[in-house]
Amino acid sequence: MELDLKINEFEGPLDLLLHLIKESKMNIFDIKIEQITDQYLKYIESQEKMNLEIDSEYLVLASELIEIKSKLLLPNEKVEDEEEEDPREELINRLLEYEAYKEITKTLKEKEELRQEIYTKAPSNIQEYIENNTEIKSDITLDDLVDAFQKFLERKKESKPLSTKVTEKEITVSSRRHDIRNILKKKKKISFFELFPVISREYIVATFLAVLEMAKNKELIITQNDTFDDITCEVTK
């Protein structure tokens, strides 16, 4: 037998074995294991000599073939047994099944070719048919819209982040002094505590310093009639 075929011409070890069986005109149901194993191994060897890499699957089948061969050579102790199992059976079934799929691919190939003779078209772009779903019901009044808007504003309030970073506004003693001067111009007399509408450390410190400075400069007079009484700030006359 000529061994001029390359291993990658086969789809796998089963394909190769089928080829060898056909080549030697063997009946697939009565494989001459000894003969076919020799051919199979010779083939593998020839590929190795050509420095072709052989997939492990080919070697797996080679070992299976050798196993079957040895089983056939060994005397069967249970000759009496009615249902003597043929060690080739499993392999034959596998070959038959594989051969069936191989045959089916021929039909598939024909169908593939036939299908390529007809054409379809790409789907049309139907984006423009997508309806804009804003429907306006006729019983909506202007009030509903206003309500909706107010609800929206409320939602917006709620959606404010819980912690925000605000750029610090610098509060200086002189600016507070200016403020206090203005207040006193209008009111003439004011409770000390009223001078601290904002409770922040910078504000309190700046205001307190401003009051002290103004008192020192005699711009205002600080009075407290009794202990724990309200402290009042008055313009100097």
Binding site: E11, G12, P13, L14, D15, I28, F29, D55, E57, L61, E82, E83, R94, L96, E97, Y98, E99, A100, Y101, K102, E103, I104, T105, T107, L108, K109, K111, E112, E113, L114, R115, Q116, E117, I118, Y119, T120, K121, A122, P123, S124, I126
Partner: protein, 194 residues
């Protein structure tokens, strides 16, 4: 409005994606019988000689296609007709999956006698097969199934249209068969008497 005309337009719009029978029923808001008749009617009108298109049923979907009788004229339009066919390995793998679906990679490997993971990945990428869940076998391997694209690619209306597998399996000589029949019948007899 004429439903036949609407169906015709629908089939044009969807093109190669096609319409399933249920889609036709839903979109046109008609019952099963009416849609069946509608499709049949449109199909028969297209079969006239003076029409260039045809309603085909491919991969479980109705599609408007050209007629293969006119293929030579379409092929004239193409400057370099590049016929791209699947490899033997791809065909084998697809055949094994189609006849055994849903199937795991290991099962395919076993039937082919070679490792198939790369081929399976390729076929998934081409849209011919898809993952459909996991098997209960140890390791819960992925199960694969062929897609509507697979059927369309081979011009098959549905999976049942695949050729009968039994026609492709070689049968042993008659002698062998009778022998096994004898064995099985004998076995049955024994079973009854015991």
């Amino acid at each position: 409005m004429n439903k036949l005309a609407i169906l015709e337009g629908l089939l044009f719009v969807v093109g190669e994606e096609g319409l399933t029978f249920d889609q036709i029923k839903d979109v046109l808001e008609i019952n099963e019988d009416e849609s069946k008749n509608l499709v049949k009617e449109l199909k028969s009108r297209y079969e006239e000689d003076d029409r260039g298109l045809r309603i085909d049923f491919l991969g479980n979907r109705f599609k408007i296609t050209t007629k293969f009788e006119h293929k030579e004229y379409y092929q004239k339009l193409i400057e370099n007709p590049t016929t791209n066919f699947l490899s033997q390995a791809a065909l084998e793998t697809l055949a094994i999956i189609a006849y055994n679906e849903p199937v795991t990679r290991i099962q395919v490997d076993k039937l082919r006698g070679v490792a198939s993971s790369q081929m399976i990945r390729k076929l998934v990428a081409k849209g011919f097969i898809k993952e459909v869940g996991r098997s209960d076998m140890p390791g819960r391997p992925i199960l694969y199934e062929t897609t509507s694209e697979f059927l369309d690619y081979f011009g098959l209306p549905n999976i049942e249209a695949l050729p009968d597998m039994s026609n492709f399996i070689k049968e042993a000589e008659k002698e062998d068969k009778e022998e096994t029949d004898l064995y099985t019948s004998k076995y049955k007899e024994n079973e009854v008497s015991s």
